[in-house]
Amino acid sequence: SQTIHQWPATLVQPVGSPLSLECTVEGTSNPNLYWYRQAAGRGLQLLFYSVGIGQISSEVPQNLSASRPQDRQFILSSKKLLLSDSGFYLCAWSKENTEAFFGQGTRLTVV
C-alpha cells in the first residue's frame, strides 16, 4: 500500500533562518506531488506542483522554492524565512486524475 511521510510535524524558526521540509512517498512510482499551505482558519493554497523529477510548477509568487531530487521525494525550502511564511504546510501525492493523499502536515511558526 502507498504511504506518505512528512516531517517534521512542528517547527519554530527565527525570521531570516533557512527552511527545509521533506516529504516522501512509498508504494507508488512517478506520482504527482504537491505542496500546499494553509493559514489558520483558511483554505488550502497550492504552492508547488510536480509531475516528475525536475518538473516543478510554482503556483504563486513567494519566498519559497521546491525541489524533487528523487521520484518520490519532494522538498520545500526557503533561504530566509519571513513572518508571513508561518502556516500549516501539507504535502500530497496523486496519480493522474485520481484523488490526492495527504501527509499529516507541518506546522511552521516563524518568530
Partner: protein, 115 residues
C-alpha cells in the same frame, strides 16, 4: 486563488439532521471532483469523488451532486454525528502547466454538529 485568504464559511447542524455543503467550481472543462474532510491539525482525508459523466454518487451516509450547468457541487451528509464536525473542501482537477491536471481546492466550509 484569492479565496484561500478568506475566513471559512460555517454551517451548524443539529446532531441527527442532514447537512448540505455547497461548492462552486471555476472551470467548465474540469472533469473530476473530490470532497475532502479535514479535522483540526490533520491533513485532509478523501470522502467521495465524482466524474463529470455523472450527476450523483452515493457513499456511506454521503452523497455528492454535480450540476455542470451552473458549475456547482454539493455534499450531503445524512444523519450527522459529532464526528462529522470538521472542515470540508471541494477540489477540482484543473489543467496544469505541464498539460496534465492538478488538484485545486475551494474555500472550504466549517461544519459544526450540535449535540
Amino acid at each position: 486563488g484569492e479565496s484561500v485568504g478568506l475566513h471559512l464559511p460555517t454551517l451548524s447542524v443539529q446532531e441527527g439532521d442532514n447537512s448540505i455543503i455547497n461548492c462552486a467550481y471555476s472551470n467548465s472543462a474540469s472533469d473530476y471532483f473530490i470532497w475532502y474532510k479535514q479535522e483540526s491539525g490533520k491533513g485532509p482525508q478523501f470522502i467521495i469523488d465524482i466524474r463529470s459523466n455523472m450527476d450523483k454518487r452515493q457513499g456511506q451516509r454521503v452523497t455528492v451532486l454535480l450540476n455542470k450547468t451552473v458549475k456547482h457541487l454539493s455534499l450531503q451528509i445524512a444523519a450527522t454525528q459529532p464526528g462529522d464536525s470538521a472542515v470540508y473542501f471541494c477540489a477540482e482537477n484543473l489543467e496544469s502547466n505541464f498539460g496534465n491536471e492538478k488538484l485545486t481546492f475551494g474555500t472550504g466550509t466549517r461544519l459544526t454538529i450540535i449535540p
